[in-house]
């Protein structure tokens, strides 16, 4: 009898917990379903149908027609190449600068807090402001960067960094690194502070130099953080629209057009929703593959450390 009562009470509590969970999670779930899950489904659906933003008479099942339209676009291969270059070089640069600054800031010295604040500032401002300010500094006529470079005799004549096909991509990547690396710094700093100090000291007594210590002790400890950060940024960078749009709008002559800009071109300029959705679907597929790789590496890393 007593047992039964306890069981009943237990069941009651479990029931209550589930009800509370559902009620409290409901708003979040509602938002994510309506504004993320549903649109994702819509993208998949539209990718295989004729859909036009203005011309509503275009409808019906399209099969693979939208994918063909996109792949026949003369700038499609260029856009894929651009996306890869933009993503890989941005993330590599951000990682290196982020790691360097984190290691430097992890020491004890006067003025550390000031340096940390300075270094964090670029991440804080709107991308549009960062883009415009660099746009102005890189201006070929009145820009300060060109002035400094010519004064130092590094270039003979002012360079139109953003207007020149051969320099535009590198410039946008540079500005992206400048604005995004602080996030790496902060994350790495948090990870570095959790590495036990005596490990480093012991190695130091054994005669390991600064670089040896960094590669043999610090780097292995940073494996998980690095994996998370790199993966997140591979995705965030490859799908970033704002930066390139603000600085070059994909130009000059499509030299900096990445896939997100192409999606924008198809949807908001050509109003061809079907084709834009086909592009989005391709990107989601690529991201899923990336995610599977990441997931495997992460489980492996977790197994290694156990």
């Amino acid at each position: 009898m007593k047992n039964k009562q306890r069981l009943h009470k237990h069941k009651n509590r479990a029931q209550r917990e589930i009800t509370t969970s559902v009620v409290m999670l409901l708003p979040a779930i509602l938002f994510l379903v309506l504004l993320i899950a549903y649109p994702v489904g819509k993208v998949f659906h539209d990718a295989f149908s004729y859909t036009h933003l203005v011309n509503k008479s275009m409808e019906g099942f399209a099969g693979l027609e939208n994918f063909k339209t996109v792949m026949r676009d003369p700038h499609f291969t260029q856009a894929i190449k651009n996306t890869v270059v933009w993503t890989v070089f941005s993330v590599a640069g951000e990682y290196m600068v982020g790691m360097l600054t984190a290691v430097l800031l992890n020491q004890k010295f006067k003025g550390r807090a000031i340096f940390r604040t300075c270094i964090f500032i670029p991440w804080l401002v709107p991308i549009i402001v960062a883009g415009m300010t660099w746009d102005w500094m890189l201006n070929p006529n009145f820009g300060i960067v060109n002035y400094i470079l010519t004064q130092l005799h590094l270039v003979d004549a002012p360079v139109n960094f953003l207007g020149n096909k051969s320099t535009a991509m590198a410039t946008v990547i540079f500005v992206n690194i400048w604005r995004s690396f602080p996030y790496y710094t902060i994350s790495f700093l948090a990870a570095l502070q959790s590495i036990p100090k005596d490990l480093n000291e012991a190695a130091s007594i054994d005669g390991a130099g600064m670089f040896r210590r960094f590669f043999s002790i610090t780097m292995p400890q940073m494996k998980t953080v690095s994996l998370v950060i790199i993966f997140m940024h591979l995705i965030w960078t490859s799908i970033n629209f704002d930066f390139i749009w603000v600085m070059t709008e994909g130009g000059p002559n499509y030299a900096t057009e990445t896939l997100p800009l192409m999606i924008y071109r198809y949807s908001m300029k050509k109003f061809n929703v079907g084709a834009a959705s086909a592009l989005s679907t391709m990107m989601i597929a690529m991201m899923t593959i990336l995610f599977i790789f990441y997931y495997r590496m992460r489980t492996q890393a977790a197994n290694d450390s156990n």
């Binding site: 360097l100 270094i119 500032i121």
Partner: protein, 281 residues
């Protein structure tokens, strides 16, 4: 071979040199932005740019604020960002609490996975369907479209930030409150939230800064001047006045000031909260 002391000193010197250089590159663009904004037109368009302003003027700032409607854009940004912050905080506190306390329940685990996946899905891929949906329900030219979009995309990280804080609040506190006859709602409001102020501040800041800085949705969802927020306004300002760099930099200064001040005062909370959320996510 260098002695240990000399070696230490050398390391320190290199550290200072490198950090000074990096900090300079980080901060200089803002300095230059402010300098340009305070220069008169003739000094802005000079072949030899100078760090010194010969005749400082606030003409650019005044012109941008009152002739081109940036007061209105700022107000719009403020309304949208505040509403999105409040909304996402309420949602994140509730979801974060459940994620922290009832993690063993299957539905909670599922929601956690759902949030992690949502976090990976970028806004630009959903731009078209969101645009069409907003068009259909008639929210396109209003604050609501932006508030809803901004709230949605910060929910996952805000929830993770809150739940990793709730993990540190001892459960005994709640049990005591429940003994005293509080229900869940009053327990959270009276007992847990007062303890969570630092974490609420950092999560709220993240949501606010995110909404204030967002560009794409504001640019696409709103075409009327009435509801325009500050980031698309800057982009359009550039297009309309291709050579007015003084005005453009003044507009940038105005857009940056609120965020910078908030950050400088609350940076300790902000950085800590961000770290805990990012490690968990």
């Amino acid at each position: 071979m260098l002695g240990r002391k000399a070696c230490n000193r050398l390391t320190k010197l290199i550290t200072y040199i490198l950090l000074t250089m990096i900090s300079l590159v980080c901060v200089f663009p803002f300095l230059w932005m402010v300098i340009t904004a305070l220069k008169p037109e003739t000094e802005v368009r000079q072949a030899v740019p100078s760090l010194i302003i010969h005749q400082p003027t606030i003409e650019n700032l005044l012109k941008v604020l009152f002739d081109t409607g940036f007061v209105k854009y700022m107000r719009n940004s403020f309304v949208v960002a505040s509403a999105a912050t409040v909304l996402s905080m309420i949602i994140a506190v509730m979801a974060g609490y459940v994620l922290s306390r009832y993690y063993k329940r299957r539905i909670v685990k599922l929601s956690n996975v759902g949030m992690m996946i949502s976090q990976m899905i970028p806004g630009v891929l959903l731009l078209v369907p969101l645009y069409i949906t907003m068009q259909k329900i008639g929210l396109l030219e209003s604050y609501f479209s932006l508030i809803l979009a901004y709230t949605t995309f910060v929910i996952p990280l805000c929830t993770f930030m809150m739940s990793s804080f709730f993990d540190t609040v001892p459960i005994e506190l709640e049990e005591a409150a429940e003994m005293d006859g509080c229900n869940k709602f009053t327990t959270i409001v009276r007992v847990i939230l007062p303890l969570s102020v630092p974490s609420l501040v950092s999560t709220g800041l993240y949501a606010f800064i995110n909404a204030w800085n967002e560009f794409m949705f504001g640019y696409v969802f709103l075409s009327t001047d009435k509801y325009r927020t500050i980031t698309p306004a800057i982009m359009l300002f550039k297009g309309a006045n291709i050579t007015d760099w003084g005005g453009l930099m003044a507009a940038s200064v105005i857009a940056v000031i609120p965020v910078t001040f908030i950050f400088l005062f609350l940076q300790r909370y902000f950085l800590e909260g961000l770290m805990s959320g990012s490690v968990k996510g």
